[in-house]
C-alpha cells in the first residue's frame, strides 16, 4: 500500500507535509504569488515613483502640499477605522436578520437594507449633519461615522447573508444532529466557515469606505480631501494639489488591498492544499 502511494504520486508533487525545493536551491516564483510585474506592483511603484519625482524635482508646490496633508490623513483614518468598527457588527446583525425566520426581525433588517441602499451616501451625510440638526446635534466626526457605518452596514449585511448562505446545508444538519442548538450552530459551525467567503468582499467594502470618507469634506471635516481643497482654494494650484491627493489615496488603497489579498490567501490555506 505504502509503496503504491509513493509510486502513484504525479511528477513534481511532494509528499504531504514537505515543501519541494527544486534542485540547485532556486525557488521559482509561486504561481499563487504571481510574477513580479503585475497590475498591483506596477500601480504602487508607479504612484510612489511619480510622487517622489514630483517632490524632488519641484519641491516648491509639491513638497509643500505633502507637508500640509498629514493632519487630514489622520482624520481620514480616524473616520475609516471608527466606521469599520461600527459597520462590521451592524453588517453581521443585518445579515443574520435577513436570514431570520422571525418575520418581524426579517422585515426590519430587509427594510433597513432597502432604504439605506436606495439613498446616496452624500445625501445621508447631509441628512444626518444638516437636516437632523433640528432635533439632535452631533459633532462632525460622529455624523460621519454614523452615516458611513449605516450605509456600509447595509452593504455588508448582503455580504454576510451571502457568505452564510454559501455554507452547505449539510453542515447545519450535522451540527444540529450532534446536539448543538441554533445559536451554537451559527457561532461554532456556520460563521467560522462563512468567514472565508466573507472576508475578501468585506475587505473590499472597507477599502471602498476609505475612499468614500472623502465625502465628509462637505461637513467641513478636515479630512485629506478637505485639506487638499483648502490648499487648492488658497494657492490656485488645482492640478498640483489634486495630483498629490489622488496619488496618496491610490497608495493607501493599494496597500490595503494587498493586506486584504494576503488575509484571503491565509484563510484559503487549507482549500488550496486540496
Amino acid at each position: 500500500m505504502r509503496e503504491n502511494e509513493e509510486n502513484g504520486l504525479p511528477a513534481g508533487m511532494a509528499p504531504e507535509g514537505k515543501i519541494e525545493v527544486p534542485a540547485g536551491g532556486l525557488v521559482l516564483p509561486d504561481s499563487e504569488k504571481g510574477s513580479l510585474v503585475n497590475a498591483w506592483s506596477l500601480s504602487l511603484v508607479g504612484a510612489v515613483v511619480v510622487l517622489t519625482v514630483l517632490c524632488t524635482v519641484w519641491p516648491d508646490p509639491y513638497l509643500e502640499i505633502l507637508r500640509f496633508l498629514p493632519g487630514g490623513l489622520v482624520v481620514t483614518f480616524e473616520v475609516t477605522v471608527l466606521s469599520i468598527i461600527c459597520a462590521i457588527p451592524l453588517g453581521l446583525l443585518t445579515g443574520l436578520g435577513r436570514l431570520s425566520h422571525n418575520r418581524i426581525i426579517n422585515l426590519v433588517a430587509s427594510t433597513y437594507v432597502e432604504v439605506i441602499r436606495g439613498i446616496p451616501l452624500l445625501v445621508q451625510i447631509f441628512y444626518i449633519y444638516y437636516a437632523l440638526a433640528k432635533f439632535l446635534q452631533v459633532s462632525g466626526l460622529t455624523s460621519a461615522v454614523i452615516a458611513i457605518s449605516f450605509c456600509y452596514g447595509a452593504y455588508m449585511g448582503e455580504v454576510f447573508r451571502a457568505g452564510i448562505m454559501a455554507v452547505p446545508k449539510g453542515q447545519i444538519e450535522a451540527s444540529r444532529s450532534l446536539g448543538f442548538n441554533k445559536v451554537q450552530t451559527m457561532l461554532l459551525v456556520v460563521l467560522p466557515q462563512a468567514l472565508r467567503t466573507i472576508v475578501p468582499p468585506v475587505g473590499n467594502e472597507c477599502i471602498a469606505m476609505l475612499k468614500d470618507t472623502s465625502l465628509v469634506s462637505v461637513m467641513a471635516m478636515p479630512d485629506l480631501m478637505q485639506f487638499g481643497r483648502s490648499f487648492a482654494a488658497k494657492s490656485y494650484l488645482y492640478f498640483e494639489t489634486y495630483t498629490v491627493i489622488a496619488l496618496i489615496y491610490l497608495i493607501i488603497t493599494l496597500l490595503l488591498s494587498k493586506a486584504v489579498s494576503i488575509l484571503e490567501s491565509r484563510l484559503n490555506y487549507y482549500d488550496k492544499r486540496k
Partner: protein, 245 residues
C-alpha cells in the same frame, strides 16, 4: 491664415444676419453669497454683482449670460476657458492677480465676524480656542488664518451652511464679507433674530471682475464699462437697491 480669412468673410455676414447681435460673455457666478449673488424664489440668479455686471457689459456693448458655478473651483474653470468672466464678489488679492487678470475695483468691503446673540468679541484674539467657520477659499477664511490666533477654522462648501452650523451651536463664529454678514445678521429671516455682528476688520478689500490673463482687451472694455456705469449714476442706484447704503 485660412481660418482668419474665413472669419473675415463670415463675420460681416453673421453680424448682418443676426441684426448686429451683441457679443455674448459667459459669466460664472456662485449664487450662494447674498446679497451679492444668490438665487431668488424662482431660481433666477440675482444680486448686486449680477445687475452691476449686466450694466457694465451693456455699456461695453456686450451681453452677459450667467452660469451657476460652485465657488470651490470657480478659478480653475476660468483658467480652463469654461467662461469668460467671473462676477462673484471676488476680492482682488496679489496671489489671485498673479494667476488671473482683474478689472478695476468696483466695490469695497471688509470682513465681518458674526456671533450668536448674547456673545461678544472685538477682535480675533477674543476668539482664541473657539471654532470659526467660513466658506472654503474665501478671503474671510484667509484673514482668520493669517490672524495667527489659535482657533479652529472650519471651511464649509458655502457660507449658508456655516451660518446654519452657527445657529446649531456647532461653531462659535462665522467670518465673511461685510455685505453677506450684514445680510444674515440684519435681514435674512430665521437668522437675523439670532445672530449679531461682533466686529469688522480694519483692512478693506476690493472686488473686481476676473478675466483670463490673456484677455487684456476684455479687461479694458470692462474697465470702460465700469467707468460709464459710474458716470451715469447706475452704480449708486444699484448700491441703493441691493446694499441699502
Amino acid at each position: 491664415m485660412i481660418r482668419r480669412l474665413l472669419c473675415a468673410l463670415l463675420l460681416p455676414a453673421l453680424l448682418c444676419s443676426s441684426a448686429m447681435a451683441a457679443e455674448k460673455l459667459v459669466v460664472a457666478t456662485n449664487p450662494e453669497w447674498p446679497p451679492m449673488e444668490f438665487l431668488d424664489d424662482n431660481r433666477n440668479i440675482v444680486g448686486y454683482d449680477v445687475d452691476m455686471f449686466k450694466a457694465v457689459a451693456a455699456e461695453a456693448g456686450m451681453e452677459a449670460e450667467f452660469k451657476m458655478t460652485a465657488w470651490d473651483g470657480i478659478f480653475a474653470g476660468i483658467a480652463a476657458g469654461n467662461y469668460d468672466v467671473i462676477a462673484s464678489a471676488v476680492t482682488i488679492t496679489p496671489e489671485r492677480q498673479r494667476a488671473y487678470a482683474f478689472t478695476v475695483p468696483y466695490y469695497d468691503v471688509q470682513q465681518i465676524v458674526v456671533l450668536r446673540k448674547g456673545n461678544s468679541a472685538s477682535g480675533f484674539a477674543d476668539l482664541k480656542g473657539k471654532v470659526i467657520g467660513g466658506q472654503i477659499g474665501t478671503t474671510g477664511v484667509f484673514v482668520a488664518q493669517k490672524s495667527g490666533v489659535d482657533m479652529t477654522i472650519r471651511e464649509y462648501e458655502n457660507v449658508g451652511l456655516a451660518m446654519q452650523d452657527l445657529l446649531n451651536e456647532r461653531i462659535d463664529a462665522v467670518v465673511c464679507d461685510s455685505p453677506v454678514a450684514l445680510y444674515y445678521a440684519n435681514q435674512k429671516e430665521g437668522f437675523s433674530d439670532q445672530l449679531t455682528v461682533a466686529f469688522r476688520t480694519e483692512a478693506t478689500e476690493s472686488f473686481g471682475f476676473v478675466v483670463r490673463k490673456d484677455r487684456k482687451d476684455l479687461v479694458e472694455r470692462l474697465n470702460k464699462g465700469i467707468e460709464a456705469v459710474r458716470a451715469k449714476g447706475i452704480e449708486a442706484k444699484l448700491i441703493q437697491k441691493w446694499l441699502g447704503e
